[in-house]
């Protein structure tokens, strides 16, 4: 075994003992929320490491399908974050997105997807603090829900 293999092997063993940690995927708009996330970094504002970020130009770029696909892939929680209304770098991408997400969220909850799975926020480039707070909240909530089962595609 190489050192890496040993490490990953011992990691697996550790994993079994560790409590379950949710996987959270975030779609962040480049201009506000991604910058806000960077700002949290610059400010060394700590938040749970469960989150992985996909950078998109605008929250308006986020196709509702991406969220459904994420659930299918077994991602426990999803966050979409964009600029506050009126602050969109692309004028109104976030406002178009807002309607789209409102319908999506209602429909998904109606079908039985737990409300905490799909999350939306407005985080500006100046809100590193808020970004970390939102992430912490989402992770906490998703953790309480437990691993995603509904809509997850089997092997």
């Amino acid at each position: 075994m190489t050192s890496v293999e040993i490490k990953s092997e011992s990691k697996k063993i550790e994993d079994m003992d560790k409590e379950w940690e949710p996987k959270v995927l975030a779609f962040l708009c480049n201009w506000c929320s991604y910058a806000g996330a960077d700002l949290a970094g610059i400010g060394r504002i700590q938040y749970p490491p469960n989150i992985r970020v996909i950078r998109v130009p605008c929250s308006g770029r986020v196709n509702p399908f991406f969220l459904i696909k994420s659930l299918q892939c077994g991602i426990d929680g999803i966050l979409v974050s964009g600029c506050h209304p009126g602050e969109c770098h692309y004028v109104s991408g976030n406002l178009v997105a807002r309607r789209r997400f409102a319908v999506l969220k209602s429909l998904m909850e109606y079908i039985g997807i737990e409300p905490g799975r799909l999350n939306f926020s407005w985080v500006s480039a100046a809100e590193g603090e808020k970004f970390s707070r939102v992430v912490s909240e989402v992770v906490k909530e998703v953790k309480a829900l437990g691993p995603v089962k509904r809509l997850v595609k089997g092997e």
């Binding site: 960077d38 970020v53 991408g93």
Partner: protein, 1025 residues
């Protein structure tokens, strides 16, 4: 001369008297390679001039390269500077001469011959790869100057890891001549017999950006610097904080390497101090000390920082908010006092600070580490330079500049920027640098483009049909990433991912040696996609894109994984989870990269005209600066006359009048054929994009319509005086604003009796609704107080203030005011002065001001004939609609928000739009002029080109899938999509498309996709998580 027409665009008589237009040299010499010099060089080179940078040290970067973080955003200094240094280093039209000094100069503006002496480096810069093998084997331990002597280096060394140029040199003072390095160097770069060289440069203009020196703290012997090991300077502490510093970012003290818990910062060391001759304020120390306190606290949770200060001079944009955060969130303790002495406990090496607190009590407190916030000062070297160039210095040894020409030295054709003309922070320096560039561009515009070479990229490799071959470069970022994330593990893991054929770790992936290395690996492994796992693409993507372009790869075949800002920095205490996350992020980047395709950038023609919004000082200055460069300008002013805020300023701090200057300026603008002025004009609509804007203007009372086309927009909408609603203003005629007072003073209405005047500072500033400092009111109050004293020395003037913020050389006038008997009484926000009307002892109605005097410890009552409110500056309401039309942001306070507060102070994220003057934030006349010229310089980098490239990230329609339903047309905020009624499909105007992707996510059959963020790429990333 037969070129009269052209000549008329030249406005400066000094310049007009210089070399004939036809023989001006299209090259500029920049002296000093700090951030100012670098910015000036880049602006000039981008707008068509050959540039030489001369730096006395072995690489460019200056002081900023030594800093850990920058205020108020806490951006990593190196991280934001490094891309600019690299850009400079690789720019085809910038030549960097290191270890060089100016020897002499001949000629005149437009045609100088400058002799430059180059000290030997003993290593061939061209051959050196920066591999560091020589240093590894060098047996010598010498003091590392870059780390302020806190660590050691070899005799053969490079200034810092990201240095540009990244070439080693030998310090012959300590070199023992053993020859080890020569035998180790595979590049055969070492030449012990290197000789001093000389170059003669022929340039049309010179920009001086040598900066200033730090004050020698040992002069202030009462603080014990040089005697007590744990008394250090702020720049030393900066190195301590730096991840690439002597302690790798661990907060340690020099005496024993222990973590200092109690850290004291002593302000104004070598500033505001007549005892050492430096009566000026160094302008930046309050902010950097607070920043260092905050960063120290971030590095080490239990640190308790205390800042001993006189006045908190956080006058810049968003600075006060930073101070508040430092107090509230980080618990930084601020103590207002002057420290009288520091003594050392010989046992513990701890330090005792003795100071008089606000109540006048002597207090002693013990600290583990004392940081002296040293100011700037001139130096022998700077004086020497000034002598050689024959330029005048002021009483402090700073470059002398007229207030209305803050970028011009006493010698035509030689311009100045940065701290050399007075202490200033990075954004001010950057603004001045761009402004100085504009001055040079104006002088040399006929010769633009005569001496430059254009960059030839290798032909783009065709990768169509080739399977992805991905290279992954994982950055340690010193210890920024490597200290938390197990980088070797990530590198190993990357290798197991599909299509990854190469992966490696770098200490700094952004350094120029790594760029070279990336190019080598692209070649060696035939890579067709490159991933860098390091910091944020928002700052570093362009740098790496450029690198792969130089290897013949389309720049869009690049992807970043942000494992620092969004991983190691925010999961500092969970190294395992952070490593796991870094692996995931790399895997996701690989998933995206394997689907990346080359993208084309549309070439857009440029209309070589500018639109300047606002006819105040900044607007007129920038309009002139553009006109000087030969660009036509439309100047739009909402009032019936030009002049703006400056019409209400009648004299300056030094007492000189402004009227003549303003009249001159207006005259120049009005007579300039390149400038078309629209008065009483309102902008109704702005459409288009960089290089091709179209603006509808309604002019005059009749709202006459005019449509103009232009390539850039300069926002110079200015500021307005806050209209107070407190302290009886508007109710009692004796309550005035400073501008109203100034009006009366200048129209001689105050000539008679001595008056009792009370000035109250921070009216409409630093309060809940205006949580920012208006920056100018303190100087304004001092100026008017002096004037009152001048009119009648018997007048009693009281200035009730919170912090006196006469930064820079304005401090001189504050001192003068004190000397002339102006009384300064400090109040704080919990104890604001109260103004009431009451009957005086004589029976008349007087204004009575009650204020708590902290030195007396009691409330005092002042009777006044006049109360003058130092009303702040507020942004014009119209900023909102203009911002919407231009699609640029405003900050919380309603001022325009620039692209980056440190390094892009006049740019917006939206290309082709720039900001200057008080539209950006409250500022002084000099600052407005500098920034206005800066905006012109930045604009000229666009206007000087025939064409610019549009973004590659744009929407793309698949006709086969498109139903032509028009939903995309509806959601597009830029009117970039139309339906082709013939074919019944959507058509995207790539020039208008901003690449937001709203259409893409709206399209049901996914017929419209966003290049660079395609559905396939994003789904692939989701799938890979």
């Amino acid at each position: 001369m037969g070129v009269k027409g052209k000549e008329s665009t030249i406005v400066d008589p000094k310049i007009a008297a210089s070399t004939p237009v036809s023989s001006r040299i299209g090259a500029v010499l920049v002296v000093g390679g700090g951030v100012g010099g670098v910015q000036a060089a880049l602006d000039l080179a981008e707008s068509g001039f050959k540039v030489y940078i001369v730096d006395s040290t072995s690489s460019i970067g200056g002081v900023m390269a030594q800093l850990d973080k920058t205020f108020p955003t806490n951006d990593c200094s190196m991280c934001i500077l490094s891309p600019k240094l690299v850009e400079c280093g690789r720019h085809l039209n910038i030549e960097i001469l290191t270890c060089s000094e100016i020897e002499g100069i001949t000629g005149k503006a437009g045609d100088f011959k400058v002799t430059v002496k180059q000290r030997p480096k003993y290593i061939d810069v061209e051959k050196c790869t920066g591999c560091s093998e020589c240093a590894k084997y060098c047996p010598v331990d010498a003091i590392d100057v870059f780390n302020e002597g806190l660590s050691e280096r070899a005799a053969v060394y490079v200034k810092y890891p990201q240095a540009v140029p990244l070439a080693y040199m030998i310090d012959r003072d300590v070199c023992i001549g053993c020859g080890l390095c020569e035998s180790m160097c595979l590049a055969d770069a070492i030449h012990y017999d290197d000789q001093e060289g000389e170059r003669e440069l022929n340039v049309g203009a010179i920009i001086l950006a040598p900066g200033l020196e730090e004050f020698d703290a040992s002069i202030k012997s009462e603080y014990g610097y040089g005697k007590f090991r744990n008394v250090i300077t702020s720049i030393e502490f900066e190195r301590i904080l730096s991840a690439s510093g002597p302690f790798r970012g661990r907060v340690q003290r020099p005496s024993d390497g222990e973590i200092p818990r109690r850290i004291a910062f002593i302000q104004c060391v070598g500033s505001r101090d007549t005892t050492c001759g430096n009566s000026y304020c160094s302008s930046v120390c309050c902010m950097y000390a607070t920043k260092e306190a905050v960063i120290a606290k971030e590095h080490q949770k239990d640190v308790e920082p205390t800042i001993f200060y006189i006045d908190m001079r956080s006058y810049g944009k968003d600075f006060d908010k930073y101070i508040e955060r430092a107090k509230e969130e980080y618990g930084v303790r601020f103590i207002r006092c002057r420290v009288s002495s520091v003594s050392e406990d010989p046992e513990t090496k701890n330090l005792r600070i003795r100071y008089e607190n606000e109540e006048g009590k002597i207090v002693e407190e013990e600290f583990d580490l004392v940081v002296l916030s040293v100011g700037f000062e001139s130096s022998e070297g700077i004086r020497e330079l000034a002598y050689r160039l024959d330029i005048e210095l002021d009483e402090y040894g700073f470059c002398k500049t007229p207030i209305f020409h803050p970028l011009e030295t006493s010698k035509p054709g030689i311009f100045v920027c940065g701290a050399f003309s007075s202490p200033k922070d990075i954004p001010e320096t950057v603004m001045q640098a761009s402004g100085a560039a504009a001055c040079a561009e104006g002088l040399l515009s006929p010769s633009r483009g005569t001496l430059i070479k254009s960059k030839e990229y290798p032909g783009e490799r065709t990768i169509r049909g080739q399977p992805p071959r991905i290279g992954v470069f994982v950055c340690h970022c010193g210890i920024n990433i490597g200290g938390v994330v197990d980088v070797p593990n990530v590198v190993e893991y990357a290798r197991t991912l599909p299509h990854v054929v190469y992966s490696e770790a770098n200490l700094y992936t952004c350094s120029s040696d790594t760029q070279k290395l990336i190019k080598e690996k692209i070649e060696e492994y035939d890579l067709n996609r490159v991933i860098v796992a390091s910091c944020t693409p928002r700052t570093h993507e362009p740098l790496f894109q450029e690198t792969i372009r130089e290897s013949g790869l389309n720049r869009y075949l690049f992807e970043m994984a942000n494992i620092r800002d969004q991983c190691s920095w925010v999961h500092m205490h969970e190294p395992e989870a952070a490593t796991e996350k870094a692996r995931d992020l790399v895997r996701m980047a690989v998933a995206k990269a394997s689907k990346l395709e080359p993208l084309e950038r549309l070439s857009l023609s440029v209309i070589p005209r500018g639109l300047v919004v606002g006819g105040g000082l900044a607007g007129m200055t920038s309009a002139l600066a553009l006109a000087e460069q030969g660009f036509q300008v439309y100047l739009v002013e909402k009032e019936k006359e030009l002049g703006g805020f400056l019409r209400h300023i009648h004299y300056l701090l030094d007492g000189s009048e402004t009227k003549k200057h303003l009249e001159d300026l207006i005259e120049k603008v009005q007579s300039n054929k390149m400038i078309e002025i629209f008065l009483e004009a309102k902008i109704e609509e702005i459409s288009g994009y960089v290089g091709n804007f179209k603006t509808a203007i309604a002019i005059g009372e009749d709202r006459e319509k005019r449509e103009v086309e232009h390539g850039v927009v300069l926002v110079a909408t200015g500021g307005e005086e806050y209209h107070p609603d407190q302290h009886l203003y508007g109710k009692d005629p004796r309550v005035l604003t400073q501008l109203e007072l100034e009006e009366r003073l200048s129209s001689k209405k105050f000539s008679g009796e001595p008056q009792n005047v009370v000035m109250i500072q921070c009216i409409g500033s630093r309060d809940d609704t205006h949580p920012y400092c208006s920056r100018m009111c303190c100087s304004e109050a001092v100026k008017n107080a002096l004037k009152l004293k001048e009119v009648n020395p018997k007048s009693e003037v009281f200035i009730l203030y919170r912090d006196i913020r006469t930064y820079g050389i304005a401090e001189k006038y504050y001192l003068k005011a004190r000397e002339e008997g102006v009384t300064f009484i400090r109040y704080n926000d919990t104890n604001e002065p109260r103004v009431v009307e009451q009957t005086s002892d004589e029976g008349g109605k007087v204004l009575a001001i009650t204020v708590f005097d902290p030195t007396l410890g009691e409330e005092i009552l002042i009777e006044a004939d006049f109360v003058v409110l130092s009303a702040g500056v507020v942004p014009p309401k119209a900023n909102e609609s203009l911002a919407k039309m231009l699609k640029v942001p405003l900050n919380e306070d309603g001022f325009f928000l620039e692209a980056h507060v440190k390094l892009r102070p006049v740019d917006f994220s939206t290309e082709g739009v720039f900001v200057c003057g008080m539209a950006h934030a409250p500022k002084s006349i000099e600052e407005s002029i500098s920034q206005a010229r800066a905006a012109a310089s930045r604009a000229s980098t666009i206007l000087a080109r025939d064409a610019i490239e549009a973004e590659g990230v744009t929407a793309d329609v698949n006709d086969r899938r498109c139903n032509g339903c028009g939903l995309c047309v509806l959601v597009c905020a830029y009117n970039a999509i139309e339906i082709d009624e013939e074919k019944k499909v959507a058509v995207v105007n790539t020039a208008l498309c901003k690449g937001c992707g709203a259409c893409t996510a709206t399209c049901r059959p996914a017929a419209i996709d966003l290049r660079g963020f395609t559905n396939e790429q994003l789904v692939s990333v989701i799938n890979s998580f």
